[in-house]
């Protein structure tokens, strides 16, 4: 490989822009870089020899996914091409037949009663014979058969690369359609798709969750006004109406809204109005947020050239985006709703979990175990950080998950085991025992129960 690596390195240095190797973030990037791929593959399959500029490249699985999508596309284009061939053949056949008939028709029309060289009957027999020859020569079967073969190949390729049957993972959970419809409707309210939600309620004949709809409509109207029309009025009204609750929950969103309004006035109208705004609306916040107000007063000096002032970041339009997100968060917090859409979170968790469950399903059908009667999944599903809502402690000795009956216990050395493991090690609380990790002695009395 050494010689090749040298050549390869030279090729890369001369021809590839550095960012091409660093910023591969999608399957399509990979597969459009055919030449790059061609050189890289042999190297990447021997990780120990890969030069350091490729260590930013990650799993082979992604490379393969890109290539596989490519393979599917190629196969499809093959099918489309074959179809063109087959279809043009049939069209030709049809045209030939048409032409012959039209020719015969023309000659019959021109036929003269006195023309005794050839009778109409004979013309027709001639036509029939010609058509028979065309028919027998057409051989439409072959392209059609080849097309069918290509159809089957494409399907096989799809089944090979993609999981052909997700239903394998489905236990007969008998989901209640009413609950699901409610969940979906609430999801639509959350996304602001009110007419879709209403349509669903009608078609599924569900009862409407009116209060929820009203709530989400309120916040969507507020945010809409803010985002699309830069109108902070509804937001400010809501914030002042809920001032007490906001204060209790420790939110300073009213101040933030006023600040944004101030900057808006400063940028779009005049200094006098901006100053007036501070006096009327920001005065109540003077005692608690003096520093902020002082900053605002300072920015007045740069009226007209805010983007060249030390306060340039105040004018950044991203604040509108951030504030509308914070508004949504605060609103949900106040009304006891989760901020992240539970349906999206669950489906996203499902996407991460399905590959594992598919493997489990195929293994279990082999063992004929009852997939449907499990109390706990026999394999772990590694979800991302954003799905971790609860602390889970797994005892390093017994690999059991802790529970109320079997809580985690802190040993004097700082290591943590579950209660049952400690019982076993100490022979039912009678002896001192050694921590499995560091050989420090411990007695049961010294262990403290932990609460995560």
């Amino acid at each position: 490989m050494k010689g090749k690596r040298g050549q390869f390195g030279k090729y890369i240095r001369n021809n590839v822009r550095p960012q091409e190797t660093e910023n591969i973030s999608s399957c399509s990037d990979l597969f459009t870089n055919h030449t790059l791929l061609a050189f890289l593959l042999p190297l990447l399959t021997q990780p120990s020899t890969s030069p350091k500029y490729f260590q930013s490249w990650k799993p082979i699985s992604l490379l393969i996914a890109g290539m596989e999508l490519n393979a599917i596309q190629d196969k499809f284009e093959r099918v489309a091409k074959k179809q063109k061939v087959s279809s043009s053949k049939s069209h030709e056949w049809m045209e030939q037949v048409g032409r012959e008939i039209e020719q015969a028709l023309a000659s019959i029309i021109q036929w003269d009663d006195n023309d005794s060289s050839i009778s109409i009957d004979q013309k027709i027999t001639e036509l029939k014979a010609k058509l028979q020859t065309i028919d027998s020569q057409s051989n439409l079967d072959r392209p059609q058969r080849e097309l069918n073969i290509d159809f089957a190949k494409y399907q096989k390729l799809l089944e090979k690369i993609l999981h052909p049957d997700l239903s394998k993972t489905y236990r007969n959970a008998d989901f209640d359609p009413h609950i699901i419809n409610q969940i979906i409707t609430q999801h639509f309210y959350r996304e602001g798709l009110f007419d879709v939600a209403d349509c669903l309620v009608k078609e599924a004949t569900e009862t409407e969750a009116i209060s929820l709809r009203v709530q989400f409509q309120e916040i969507h109207q507020i945010i809409d006004a803010l985002k699309s029309k830069r109108n902070l009025g509804p937001a400010l009204d809501w914030a002042s109406a809920n001032r007490e609750k906001l204060k209790d929950s420790g939110s300073d969103i009213e101040l933030k809204l006023h600040k944004l309004q101030f900057v808006d006035i400063l940028q779009n109208r005049n200094r006098a109005e901006a100053l007036k705004y501070i006096k009327t609306h920001l005065a109540p916040f003077a005692s608690s947020h003096m520093k902020e107000i002082q900053k605002l007063m300072g920015s007045l000096l740069w009226f007209g050239k805010l983007d060249k002032s030390p306060y340039a970041d105040m004018a950044d339009p991203i604040h509108w985006e951030n504030l509308s997100e914070e508004l949504m968060k605060t609103y949900c917090n106040l009304s006891g709703q989760p901020f992240t859409d539970p349906l999206s979170v669950t489906v996203a968790a499902g996407v991460e979990g399905l590959p594992t469950l598919l493997k489990l399903a195929s293994v279990m059908t082999g063992k004929k175990q009852d997939f449907q009667a499990m109390k706990q999944l026999p394999v772990p599903i590694e979800l991302g950080k954003s799905f971790q809502f609860h602390s889970v402690f797994v005892c390093p000795v017994s690999r059991d998950q802790s529970s109320e009956e079997n809580p985690p216990m802190l040993l004097p050395c700082g290591h943590v085991l579950c209660k049952q493991s400690i019982n076993k090690l100490s022979k039912c609380n009678t002896r001192n025992f050694k921590c499995p990790y560091c050989p420090l002695d411990a007695s049961v009395a010294q262990c403290k129960q932990l609460h995560f």
């Binding site: 091409e20 973030s25 399957c27 399509s28 030449t35 061609a38 593959l41 990650k58 799993p59 699985s61 992604l62 599917i72 596309q73 499809f76 049939s90 069209h91 049809m94 008939i101 028709l105 019959i108 036929w111 009957d121 013309k123 027709i124 028919d135 799809l158 993609l162 236990r171 959970a173 989901f175 359609p177 409610q182 798709l193 879709v196 078609e203 989760p338 999206s344 979170v345 669950t346 489906v347 499902g350 996407v351 991460e352 499990m374 999944l377 772990p380 599903i381 590694e382 991302g384 971790q388 609860h390 602390s391 998950q401 802190l410 700082g414 943590v416 990790y437 403290k448 609460h451 995560f452």
Partner: protein, 412 residues
């Protein structure tokens, strides 16, 4: 970049061979790898438009074959001593028939093109998934899953509205389901004709899968005849349509034939059930299953499959406690109910979440234990101590102590 596709074909096969032969030990999957895995779940997404495309191609081909053959055999027989006017008339009609066929084929070919394009569009959509645009791509995936659910539940208007809201009409199968709509609505009106037509259209495929759906339709029609006490008609119907199925489904045939001896208000349970209205609902369900199988769709709505997987993956005993955070979907009543019969998730490694900051407590942010056994993350306690002169108070029990009183815990 000057590129010459050098030796690519020669290198690729060996490369893939070695790639599969040397599996790389998996570190926690990166976002990219997870994305690649998630694309592999999209079989239905690509298969359905392909089936539809195949169907159109076959239908167009059959049309040409039938029509042109008919035209060829429509040429008047020889030696019929035909007059000139007659010959002209007949040949002209054949010519116009061919012209009609041409027009029909143009339409058919356009449909074919559109469907081929749809297959391509979907492949491009899968390609377009990137780590950067993931939130948007995921939100479109959720919409696709929801449209699939709506279509299967026959909420057609909602499906159309939802697809329009994000312009994803090419990524969903509304037109395929409209074909099913006709059959389903007819069956709900106790009409079997569209269903039988559908069976005739898909005869070869249904035969391949040894489907007995057509048989069940015929049985139901027979029962309806028995219900109206048209015994003679029922028997001749059975002779014509049920007998051919006798070879493979004799037992069932006999059971249904026996209903002739009973009336529709019979109390005998074996036969009473056959007369119930519910049988029509079973027919609708049966049709749906056949339909899904034909098009390569999953037999359960995608939403059910993803929801179930997600609920299992998220389900822990802590989710059902009152202290469960709002952000966990399983804190919501609907989700809790759905997850009741499902198994709990399993963890092989401890994963600890700080009660205060909701951050993970790992080696970067190790857990600290207060004198009362309550545990919080280092970062959260340090922040608290900074703001309170070195004092920390447990948010759950109210205990106040000094930062230096906490003990480090070592979790592997």
């Amino acid at each position: 970049m000057s590129s010459t596709p050098m030796e690519m074909d020669a290198q690729l096969p060996t490369a893939t061979a070695t790639a599969t032969a040397t599996p790389i030990a998996a570190p926690p999957p990166s976002n990219l790898a997870k994305l690649a895995e998630s694309l592999k779940l999209e079989h239905q997404f690509l298969r359905v438009p392909f089936e539809h495309y195949k169907k159109t191609i076959r239908y167009n081909h059959r049309t040409i074959e039938k029509e042109v053959s008919a035209v060829i055999s429509g040429v008047p027989a020889a030696a019929s001593d035909i007059s000139r006017e007659e010959a002209v008339r007949q040949l002209t009609s054949l010519v116009s028939r061919l012209q009609g066929l041409k027009r029909k084929l143009e339409e058919g070919s356009q449909t074919e093109q559109l469907q081929a394009q749809r297959c391509r569009t979907r492949l491009e959509h899968l390609e377009s998934a990137e780590v950067d645009n993931l939130p948007k791509w995921n939100s479109i995936r959720l919409k696709r899953i929801l449209v699939d659910y709506m279509l299967r539940m026959s909420y057609y208007d909602t499906a159309v509205k939802l697809a329009e809201s994000s312009n994803i009409q090419d990524l969903v199968d509304i037109d395929v389901f409209l074909e099913a709509k006709k059959v389903i609505e007819a069956l709900e009106q106790k009409e079997v004709a569209p269903a039988l037509a559908w069976c005739a259209d898909n005869k070869s495929r249904l035969k391949k899968t040894k489907s007995k759906f057509e048989f069940q339709l015929r049985l139901q029609e027979f029962i309806e005849l028995v219900r109206t006490e048209n015994s003679m008609q029922a028997i001749s119907y059975a002779r014509k349509y049920l007998a051919p199925w006798g070879a493979t489904h004799m037992k069932e045939l006999q059971r249904v034939m026996a209903t002739l001896a009973f009336r529709s208000n019979t109390e005998c349970s074996t036969y009473k059930v056959l007369f119930e209205e519910r049988q029509w609902d079973y027919l609708v369900d049966q049709f749906k299953q056949e339909f899904y199988k034909l098009y390569g769709m999953t037999l359960e709505p995608l939403l059910h499959i993803y929801l179930q997987a997600g609920l299992c993956a998220l389900k822990t005993p802590y989710c059902y406690k009152n202290a469960c955070t709002n952000e966990d979907p399983l804190s919501q009543e609907g989700f809790r109910k759905l997850a009741m019969p499902l198994p709990f998730s399993k963890q092989h490694h401890s994963k600890l979440v700080c009660y205060i900051s909701k951050e993970l407590m790992d080696c970067d942010n190790p857990p600290l234990v207060l004198p009362n056994g309550y545990v919080y993350s280092t970062r959260a306690l340090q922040e608290m101590a900074k703001q309170n002169n070195g004092k920390i108070s447990c948010p759950r029990t109210g205990l106040v102590c000094e930062y230096k009183d906490v003990v480090k815990a070592f979790i592997s």
